[in-house]
Symmetry: C2
Subunit: 282 residues, 2 copies
């Protein structure tokens, strides 16, 4: 559980870090912000989301709970460089969208008197920066806790508590392997497809004819180019396997069309319709 | 132009045919329905959308304008079999989603005293049947008129007039070649991708983790399996070319990920973001 007087330090006040301090402060928690960008700190201070903002990482010594809202590599580097400032007994969490490598790399360097509980709030956005922070998005999003064998019951319970405080209602636990496999398919493959479809050719002359089909398939082609390449590489094995499986299925469809196999196409469509129905929101 | 006392015969009261008679009757036009399914006719009669419904195609002799809302092959067969019932001077239109073959096949058999003006109301739905008819969807959709050299100015003007009566506000003209190329990319390729993505593997166990990305990319995988195989084959050359181009681009992305080429991926994402912005609704 998280005590009512717990002090949070949030590292990296981007769109997610900003939403974290927004939600936490609205629930009455004291938040400290750490960022290399003073203007992000100023923004959070003006909004009243943090009581203190600093470009100096040593301020985390005032926190009971430290949440890194940095990208995977930056998170690991930050810990290597600044973990000495954390108090003994600090609970450390994160928001990264890939988990196996992050957990392994953090566990390899982390002090033994600080516990890391990995979390993935699936509330990503195509826009960067604290000005797009909006904690109201958390309600509908999934919050995934990724415990390992070395996590204490208390840390896992605290992660559940954190998710609830932030406003998430769909909270679950997955192993790092399950998490990364799921993300490789549901999130990463879909982004690869959207980016590829958008990049096939310049079709801006078709904008007047564009309906929902194309818009829906390419919405996520507006993508944060600073973050995603790293996420793809960190989950390369899963992602490449998913892309290959999709390529095979696409090739199957192409052959059916080429052979004018009406019955084969029909069966594919009956299957896709049946499967897709399960994904409709109730 | 279309006279206020014009009588329409709509052949095939499915979701589009139903929406046509709904919109036309609401604007005060007299509509006759022709369908092989008596229950579709009964539904339109009950709604007051048609004044007469018949399974006998000879009733089209009462119409000034005949609109086929049949799939491509069925449309051509219907004309071969029933065109003798149309009055001399009848204007004939359609709603098919592919145009080169339909126009060629119809022109090859059509009586010289009946003029065919090809139209494509881009207001398709994933559901079949008149019970899903909803003419209010026309407002936001594109209506494409596909004239040929043999069309009269009067017929083209009548098609514009028809589109306005139906409630379309985005009305344009394209050649059959332009139309089919555009449809191959914007509509058909996107449906092939969505169906393929949905069919890669049974991922129904992931439904609880599914966010907007996957839902958006697979929405159109709920697809009318009776119609689309035919549309794909009728536009096979364009569609296979578009699938191949997409496959190449997907393979490029895969290689960048495999080689861990961060800069290459970043450039792809900057391009996709820039291009996609133009497709955002203003």
């Amino acid at each position: 559980m998280i005590k009512k007087n717990a002090v949070f330090a949030v590292i990296g006040l981007g769109v997610l870090g900003g939403s974290y301090v927004q939600a936490l402060s609205e629930k009455g928690f004291t938040c400290i912000g750490v960022d290399i960008d003073q203007s992000a700190l100023d923004y959070a201070l003006e909004k009243g989301w943090i009581v203190k903002g600093s470009t100096d990482p040593s301020v985390v010594e005032e926190a009971d709970i430290v949440v890194s809202c940095l990208y995977p590599h930056a998170f690991v580097e930050w810990i290597k460089k600044n973990q000495q400032y954390m108090r003994s007994g600090t609970l450390l969490s994160d928001v990264t969208g890939v988990k196996r490598n992050v957990i392994r790399n953090i566990q390899a360097v982390l002090r033994k008197d600080v516990e890391f509980i990995a979390c993935h709030p699936m509330a990503g956005k195509e826009f960067k920066g604290i000005r797009y922070a909006d904690a109201s998005k958390f309600t509908e999003a999934n919050f995934i806790i990724v415990p390992t064998n070395s996590n204490s019951k208390e840390a896992i319970a605290a992660a559940h508590s954190l998710a609830e405080i932030l406003g998430f209602t769909k909270i679950s636990e997955l192993s790092a392997e399950e998490h990364d496999k799921m993300i490789g398919f549901l999130s990463q493959l879909t982004h690869v497809i959207a980016v590829s479809l958008m990049n096939v050719t310049d079709n801006s002359h078709l904008v007047d004819f564009t309906g929902d089909s194309f818009r829906d398939l390419t919405r996520i082609a507006e993508i944060n180019e600073s973050m995603w390449p790293e996420l793809f590489v960190e989950n390369k094995d899963n992602l490449l396997r998913e892309i290959s499986a999709f390529q095979n299925e696409l090739e199957n469809m192409k052959e059916l069309i080429d052979k004018e196999d009406y019955e084969g196409m029909k069966q594919k469509m009956i299957l896709s319709t049946e499967r897709r129905k399960k994904f409709n929101r109730s």
